[in-house]
Structure formats: C-alpha cells, structure tokens
Amino acid sequence: MIENKKAHKFGMVIDLDKCTGCGACMVSCMAENNVPFKEDESNKKDSITWMRVYRLTNGKSFPETQIAYIPRPCQHCGGIGDHGHSPCVSVCPATATDYGYDTGIVSQIYTRCFGCRYCMGACPYHARYFNWWDPKWPEGMENYLSPNVSPRMRGVVEKCSFCYHRYQLAREQAIVEDREIEEMEYQTACTTACPAGAIVFGDLNNPAHKVHQIVKPDPHPDPLNHKVVGKSRNPKVFRLLERLGTNTKVYYMSDREWVRKAGDNYLKGEWENVKTHHGASSSHG
C-alpha cells in the first residue's frame, strides 16, 4: 500500500502514574472483542488477554516499596526505521498479520492464520496469544457476543487490533458524511473504559490530537540509534524496548525515573547518559 500524506498513525500514551492497575481496560477489551475464558486462567502463559497489565516494583522494602502497573496491548510496531516490518508481520509466512500503512495498525486475519506461531516467537512483548482450546461459553452466554469481531477458532493466533472495527465504524460514518474522522469518534475500548483516564488514544500524525501533543514524536531517526523513529520529545515519555527498533505506537509516561528505566534494558552507566536524551530535535534545541 502507498504511503500518502493523509496516512494516520494511531497510537496511545498511557500515564503509568495514573494507572491504578484496576483491570477495567483488560475486561473492556475482552468484552469488546469476544475474548473467551477458561475455568482456570491462573496460568498466565496460556491466558488470552489482548490487554495485559504487568505489575512491577522498585524492589525496595516496605514502606519504601513502589509499584507500577504497565498495561500492555499490542504495541503496533512499525519495525526498524518504522518501515512497517513489525517483528511479527515480517515473519508471518501466510500474510495472516499485516501492517496497515495508512493506519499504522497491525492486523490479524484469523481465518488466514494457520497457527504456526512464528509471530509469537518474534514478538518480545508477548502480545500475541494462541487459541490452544476451542473457545467455549457457558450455555446461553454466547448471546452477548458482538458481531463486530468474529470469535476465533482453535489453532489460530489473536491479539489486540486497536479495536479496528471501531475504526471501521467511524470511518464508514465519516465517508458517508464526506469528512475526516474526529478524534473522539475512534477510541479503543480500553481507552474509554479506564476509570483513571490513564490512556489517551489518537492519531500520532495529527498535531491536533492529544496523543500527539503529549508524545511530540520526533519525525527524525534517533541519532544514537537509526533504527528508532518517532522517539518522544517529552522527557517523561518512553516506549518499551525502544532500543530494539520495534518502533511501537504505544507510549508510556511516568514522573518516576525507575519506571522509565524499566521500560528498556540498559548496561551499567548507560541510563545516566540516556535518560536526558529525548529524540533528535531536542538535542538541537
């Protein structure tokens, strides 16, 4: 697909100082996207949660302990240089997961996926989930399933779609009315659910959108690591494993230094140098 001027780049920024770990985003996502559930979901390694909230601590003892919750949807990686070769998309042999150059959304076509799980191995965020079992609902409960997202069959991979169907609904409306999609018209189910207002969603390419204003993405490649594009110029904002060059579209924000540091891996001493570096443009004023 051709990149055009009007291409969107949907993304989010999650304020980790606001996130309370309440789990509303996880459930909203499951309810929105017909995610099934099993009797025992305590093995988190086979529990399908498109949105998963990780809990980390600063490792200190009470009462100096601090917790941070990190909600982790699919990061909708743009891949090295943000060229659209996400870790998962580039490896899928059957093109069952694809990069939307005009939305930045990494899609998943369940009916095309044949379940090789290569994409899961390639994703460092564990954002992809395999349907090890047939989805099953207690008798009658399938009545609440939404037709906007088809229930998946056993043997295929699924993941967060940035609620693509919500985009489609908004886009259809916009097309009918011959106008652009408004910021608030397309919001993901996790964003709207968050009682703490920790998630902001919108078009990273659109300076009028809040997400753009918070993130201030740097259009130039990071001079320290040319794989990285779209680094935030906001000193409180970071991305997970940014150094790998996955170029994720989910940004995180925190006032707490230990939380920002936990977003990536650093060798001894590196953080001290890196923590003040926020994108190319900030270095030239």
Binding site: K45, V91, P93, F114, C116, Y118, P124
Partner: protein, 418 residues
C-alpha cells in the same frame, strides 16, 4: 519367506526375527501416531506449549533432524558435483537418512500447526519476507528431490528391477542424478539457511537476533554450514549403529575416513565462524540492545554457560579436532566419540536456537520461562525415530543400499559356511 525380495547374495536375518523387531518398534510408532491424532483432533492443548513457548520440543526435533539430515545434500554435492567418487559407497544410505529426516520434518510441521488443513496457505498466501515461507518452499522442493534420489534405489530391488521399465528408469535416473543433486544442494543450502534465518531475523529477541549480509542474518550461513558439517557425522553414526545391529561391516574404512575427514574440516571451519559470530554478537550486537551476555545465562534453573561451552567447545571444537587429526580420525573409538559429540553439538545448537530463545526474558520486568513437554509431545517427537528405524530396516533388508556389503563380508560369510 521373503527371500525373493532380498538383494541377490545378501544375508539377512530370518523373517520372524525381522518381524519381531518391526513389531516392537512399530508399537512405539503407534504410540506416536496416537499422540499425533490427539493433537490433530483435540488441538495443540495436548501439548505443554504455551504463549511463551510457541515453539517447543518438536520444533527443536524438526530443526535437529533437518540439520543431521544435511548429510544427504552434502554427500550428494560432493559425490555428484565435486565428483568425490569414493562416496558412492555411502550415498544411498545418506539419501535414505535424508529422506527419513525430511519426511519426519514435514510430518512434525503438519502436527505442529494449529490449523493443519490450512497448511497450504503458506504457499498460497506466501509472504516473501518470511523466512518460514522460504523454509516451506525449499523444504518441500528438497523433499521432492530426495524422493527422486531415493527412487532409483527402490527400483533396484530384486523384483522391481525385473520390470524392464523400472530397470531403465532407475538406470536413467542415476544418469541425471547430478542435476537433482545440484538442485538439492541449492535448495538445501537455502532452507538450512532460512531455518537459521528464522531465529536470526527476530530483532525483537536479542538472544536470537544476528546481524548479517543483505537479507540474511549470520545464522543463515551458520545453519547451512553446520548442517553440512555435522550431517555427515550423523550419516556415519547411523551407519555405525546399523553395522552394530546387523553385525556386518557395510561401508569401507576408506569411505568412512574420507567422509570423517571432510566432516572434520567442515566442523573446524564452522566452529571458528561460530566462535567469531558468538563473540561479535556478545560484544557488539547484544550490548547495543542493552544486554550483557550474562543476562542469557543466569537467573534461571537450567540455562547456564554450560550450554554454550558444551555446544561450542565440547561438541564443536573437540570433534572438529578429533576428526581432522589422522590418528584420532582413523581410530574407531575416538572417531565414534567425535561423531557422537558432533551430533549432540548440532542438536544442542538447534535446541538453543529454538528453546532458549523462548525462555530468555526480554522486557526488563519479564521473567525466565521454563517448559516441560507433555507426553504427547514426547511421543510425537519419538515417532519419527521409530519410523526412521523401520524404514532403514526395510530398506536395508530389501534394497541394495550398501554397494560394498557383499565384498566386505565375503570372508565372514565364508567363515560362516565352514
């Protein structure tokens, strides 16, 4: 009872003895088949794989059999392209082992995928960027080549060969085998490489990721090289085992020494490349992503530096040196040790490149994941071994696999007749 099928002049055990062996191994095979059907009909929940371990035991087995099956393409390459004529004495067997390895690999893939009936999407909706697409295409094509390489040997069966059409077909196929060997070598080069690429391109997984040449990460070349290096070890090992079981010498020492020597030099050069790759990766690639080497070998209950040392030194450098040194190469005991170490080494390499990758945490707040396979996985992983044993037993019994067999066992037969 089945005398008419046994190659002319060859001595084989009695049919009942043969069948007892087949039934015992067949029972193991059926156990594997049962597990296979469980996986197909109930789904992959029959395994202990999970969302962290999307690739697990049998994918390791898959990569390992392909690696050790590399003896087929490499021996073929030497025999038909580089005209190392001495290898004619082992080429049939190398092809059979390759055939077993590759058919097993395809079978494992058919069990492994969550939607086996959609397996063909990999060809129909092929993504040219995916190493797995390359693997699938080359693997399937090469399997076809191996089948073609195997057919003349089958047609040389005493009864089949009586049919003039088959006789001529076999003869003519032998004539054009160089073309197939060349094709096979090319395809094999690519799929061995792309299997290495599968891991190497995962830039989200620092333990797997390698820089490289054009679109190919270094693991691409290392996998091809290691398959060529260690594949012959496996051919020699299986030959040795077959000799022990049949109680006969089947391949002449000259051939064995030659193949061992070639393998030795391939291993030695490979392991030098592997060491350079490891050092570059550990000192340059990994730190650029924020990791120290120790990250991959500590804070967990299994993966320590021992695995790196075992793979590279004990099962790489040591067999390489043992096989390039004439005296240790020609000493059956040290040669056998070297061959065994070599096979373990390449299997360990594939293990590391499949399972350790999945176990290593990447996000700073993630933890090591360890995994224990279910019996269904173990059974389906053993299934190809049982299948391989049966196919070798049948091939050995009914096909003229080893051209030197009669010659090498003349004196023994004579002694037996006295």
């Amino acid at each position: 009872m089945d005398d008419a099928l046994i190659p002319e002049g060859a001595k084989r055990c009695g049919f009942p003895t043969f069948m007892i062996g087949i039934v015992i191994v067949g029972a193991v095979l059926l156990w594997g088949v049962y597990a296979m059907f469980l996986c197909w009909f109930k789904g992959l929940n029959q395994t202990n794989m999970n969302d962290y371990y999307g690739f697990a035991l049998w994918i390791w087995a898959d990569l390992a059999v392909i690696a050790v099956g590399g003896g087929a393409f490499f021996t073929g390459l030497l025999k038909y392209i580089f005209k190392v004529d001495e290898l004619k004495n082992i080429i049939n067997f190398a092809v059979i082992i390759g055939f077993i390895c590759y058919s097993s690999a395809l079978l494992i893939l058919a069990i492994d995928i969550g939607q086996p009936l959609r397996g063909w999407f990999i060809f129909w909706h092929a993504n040219v960027h995916s190493m797995l697409t390359e693997v699938a295409f080359c693997l399937s094509c090469y399997f076809a080549v191996l089948t073609i390489e195997f057919i003349p040997n089958i047609l040389e069966n005493r009864q089949a060969n009586k049919v003039p059409f088959f006789h001529h077909l076999a003869h003519n196929m032998h004539g054009v085998m160089a073309v197939f060997a060349a094709t096979g070598a090319f395809l094999s080069f690519f799929h061995q490489g792309s299997l290495g690429g599968v891991a190497g391109v995962m830039f989200g997984r620092p333990f797997a990721y390698r820089e490289g040449l054009l679109i190919w990460p270094w693991t691409f070349f290392l996998f091809t090289w290691s398959a060529a290096a260690f594949g012959p070890c496996f051919t020699l090992l299986v030959t040795k085992i077959t000799e022990i079981i049949t109680g006969k010498k089947l391949v002449g020492d000259k051939t064995v020494h030659l193949l061992a020597k070639i393998s030795g030099w391939m291993i030695t050069t490979y392991i030098i490349a592997k060491i350079i790759d490891t050092i570059y990766w550990a000192w340059v690639t990994v730190p650029s992503m924020g990791f120290k080497l120790s990250h991959f070998y500590s804070n967990n209950g299994f993966y320590g530096y021992w695995i790196l040392i075992t793979e590279v030194i004990l099962c790489g450098v040591v067999p390489g040196l043992l096989l390039i040194n004439k005296s240790t190469r020609e000493n059956p005991a040290t040669r056998t040790i070297a061959i065994i170490l070599g096979v373990i080494g390449v299997c360990l390499n594939r293990w590391v490149m499949v399972l350790q990758i999945m176990a290593v945490p990447v996000m700073s707040f993630d933890t090591w994941a360890l995994y224990i396979p279910s019996w269904q996985e173990v059974a389906t992983t053993i299934l190809p071994v049982a299948y391989g044993i049966i196919l070798i037993a049948v091939a050995y019994r009914y096909l003229p696999v080893f051209p030197q067999e009669l010659e090498l066992n003349k004196s023994a037969d004579a002694a037996a007749q006295n």
